[in-house]
């Protein structure tokens, strides 16, 4: 085995892992915030994420066919697409909560989970239906913006594309804003109060339903932004693309300690790095017997091991048992 190869590709692997990790972190926030407030796995979050990606591709394709994509400055285009994805995904998350989860609050805990699975499946085919009618295609490719595909050479062996930098910067900015929102503002205090104890919070004059809607809005918006970034970074999307990243982001949330916002960020980064390492090194280390196709199994094994040995996650907040 050639140790030199392993060392040489290390920085590139780290970089890929970081990008993937930030993506997971953004999606994981949606899972973890909702879990923190309702102790409920919002299974449909992976579709809320991919809806963001579809909003992005529709706007970009629209701009392209209008011939504006070349002329508008790319940061403006990117900002517009991100905002649109966030608004639509956030609104969708709030709607889903209102329609499919709120009537079930207080039911045995598997009931809303099953409803969420139903919503997830329904949304997948709804996207397919809408895109089939609208474009007669549901496998869509993000139009390329040339500037974003330029690559910097950091060293002769490592290079980084502009879009990867954009992903990292955007993710960092959003995580920072969210952190400030939750910890420094009145709304953030209300969210934390509702997560702590809904009854007590409502006695203190907090409108619990509104705070829960707000939680879905923020989580959904983060998911939508992640969807747009996912599309920009990886290009190809279809209505079923969201499922596996969603599952992995949930793994990241559990890994960091579900219900814990910094935990979701750290969990996302750790999982992204682990997966990048597994994808590039598994094949090298086993002499080609097992390759990158096992990276999904790797992520799920991490999930199973964490849940068995440290269900509180890395930043272990004690998960309360509620019958």
């Amino acid at each position: 085995m050639d140790v030199e190869i392993l060392v040489n590709i290390l920085p590139q692997v780290l970089l890929d892992g970081l990008i993937l990790g930030f993506m997971y972190a953004l999606i994981a926030l949606g899972y973890t915030m909702v879990y923190g407030v309702l102790e409920f796995i919002n299974f449909a979050h992976s579709e809320i994420f991919i809806v963001g990606a579809f909003v992005g591709v529709e706007i970009l394709l629209g701009l392209k066919s209008a011939g504006w994509l070349e002329h508008l400055p790319w940061p403006l285009v990117l900002l517009l697409v991100l905002l649109a994805g966030m608004v639509v995904s956030g609104a969708l998350a709030v709607t889903v909560e209102r329609v499919a989860y709120r009537p079930l609050r207080g039911a045995p805990r598997l009931i809303p989970l099953i409803s969420a699975i139903g919503i997830s499946f329904f949304l997948q085919d709804l996207i397919r239906l809408v895109e089939s009618i609208w474009r007669n295609a549901f496998n869509l490719v993000y139009p390329t913006i040339d500037v974003l595909n330029e690559r910097f050479e950091l060293t002769p062996t490592i290079d980084v594309s502009v879009k990867s930098l954009v992903v990292i910067v955007a993710a960092l900015a959003m995580l920072g804003v969210l952190h400030a929102l939750v910890n420094r503002t009145k709304i953030g205090t209300a969210i934390r109060a509702v997560a702590e104890d809904q009854t007590a919070a409502s006695l203190m004059g907090i409108n619990v339903n509104r705070i829960i809607s707000l939680t879905f809005l923020i989580g959904g918006a983060m998911g939508g932004a992640a969807g747009v970034l996912f599309g920009v970074q990886y290009g190809l999307i279809n209505p079923y693309t969201g499922f596996i990243p969603g599952l992995k982001a949930f793994t990241a949330a559990v890994l960091g300690g579900i219900g814990n916002i910094p935990g979701a960020m750290i969990g996302g980064l750790v999982l992204g790095l682990l997966e990048a390492f597994a994808a590039s090194y598994l094949s090298l280390l086993t002499g080609g017997r097992f390759g990158a196709e096992y990276k999904d199994i790797f992520a799920f094994s991490v999930l199973i091991l964490i849940l068995i040995f440290r269900p509180k996650g890395l930043l272990g907040e004690v998960v309360r048992e509620r019958a």
Binding site: R105, I117, F122, D125, S301
Partner: protein, 408 residues
């Protein structure tokens, strides 16, 4: 009495109708509705059993002579009934949400597929496929291997809380599928995405044609599974499962061994899936990992939820409705729409020939599953044919802010 006569008349009429119009989907649906009517109508138990027996043992194979596709649908329904009954034990009785159930089906299917085809030569050298008669032994092997897989998965994860358990079983289902997809190297175990074929079929007695033979085989297994389910439900262990579902802490305090009971539920459900997996692989002659996706797991879950968690007739009804929706209604709608498109029919000033080509109604089974799951959870969580105990539980837990659940 009116009900009795009505149901019998309905059954006979629909039977004749199917023989007269062997191509009409609607008529076949009417036949299935007649079976349901016989089940619901007020009549002595022996008469109901005799009528259902007549319909399933005599009328259905006869219908199969007119239109082989209906027999295929009936066989598929049978396979899914057995799967739904197996999952019903895990989800309905023991209250453990298993989102990777189809993995056990896959384990059963691959256990016969590998040894019942030349595939095993890649591992053991020569001598395969096994003789067809081995199939009957492998019904037991599939059952045992799937059950053992259930125990191996269950041992570490059954300590987890309900929603975590659901996600871990989902992950496990994906792991099995990814393994089936990739274990064509370093040793070619599953032949990867290309799948395994040809799989040996068992010797059919009396020179029976294979579609009829598999129909009867599946029917026999379904009857067996129903009987086992009914015995289990009222047994010591069945009551322990329900106690765990209602309140784990209280059950434990009453001396119910939690992990052991849950393991048993997992293994029971898994073994039903395993035995059907063996039949499935022999019936299809070809299997590949595409038959064992998360979509299938959710499909089986939708069947259980639709009929009513914990309810045996509910699982049968749910499996029938969902399978028929997928195999007949969606496909029928697709074909009909295509005919209209080709004919260029104009509806409300819109020419149907202009409909997008990618719009294929047959492909929207996810939407069907999704709608079933959400609507059932919101409006009728106890299912169409609920168990009385489950109904009481859901009513008792409904909080003041929740939906108005009607008292039973």
């Amino acid at each position: 009495m009116i009900q009795l006569v009505g149901a019998v008349a309905f059954l006979i009429a629909s039977g004749i109708a199917v023989a007269t119009f062997p191509r009409s989907v609607l008529v076949f649906l009417a036949f299935q509705a007649a079976l349901f009517a016989v089940y619901l109508a007020r009549m002595p138990a022996w008469l109901r059993a005799a009528l259902l027996g007549l319909a399933l043992l005599v009328m259905m194979p006869l219908i199969g002579l007119y239109n082989g596709y209906y027999l295929e649908v009936a066989t598929q329904v049978g396979i899914f009934v057995a799967l739904a009954l197996g999952l019903n034990i895990v989800v309905g009785l023991a209250g453990l949400l298993d989102l990777g159930y189809v993995a056990f089906f896959a384990v059963g299917a691959y256990s016969w597929a590998i040894f019942g085809s030349p595939q095993a030569n890649a591992i053991f050298g020569g001598g395969f496929p096994l003789a067809p008669i081995w199939f009957y032994l492998f019904l037991g092997v599939g059952l045992a291997v799937a059950g053992a897989t259930g125990v191996v998965l269950g041992l570490p994860v059954l300590r987890l809380r309900g929603d975590y358990l659901a996600i871990v079983t989902l992950g496990f289902g994906e792991v099995i599928r990814v393994l089936a997809n990739n274990l064509d190297k370093p040793i070619n175990l599953t032949n990867g995405p290309r799948g395994i074929t040809p799989i040996t079929r068992p010797p059919a007695p009396f020179g029976m044609p294979y579609p009829e033979y598999f129909y009867f085989l599946v029917l026999a297994i379904v009857v067996l599974v129903v009987l086992v389910n009914r015995r289990l439900e009222n047994s010591h262990i069945g009551r322990a499962w329900e106690a765990i579902r209602e309140d784990e802490l209280a059950a434990q305090a009453m001396g119910v061994p939690l992990v052991r009971s849950k393991l048993l539920a997992f293994a029971c459900g898994a073994s039903f899936a395993g035995i059907m997996g063996v039949v499935f692989s022999a019936k299809q002659v070809f299997i590949n990992p595409e038959s064992f996706t998360f979509l299938e797991s959710i499909g089986v879950l939708a069947m259980v939820i639709l009929g009513g968690m914990g309810s045996i007739p509910g699982a049968v009804l749910g499996a029938t409705v969902v399978t028929v929706l997928n195999l007949q209604v969606l496909k029928g709608f697709s074909l009909w729409l295509n005919e209209l498109k080709n004919a260029g029919v104009v509806v409300l000033g819109f020419n149907l020939a202009d409909l997008p080509t990618q719009l294929e109604p047959a492909k929207y089974e996810r939407m069907i599953f999704g709608i079933i799951l959400v609507l059932m959870m919101i409006f009728r969580p106890q299912g169409i044919l609920p168990v009385r105990r489950r109904q009481r539980e859901l009513a008792a837990r409904a909080p003041a802010t929740g939906p108005a659940t009607p008292a039973p």
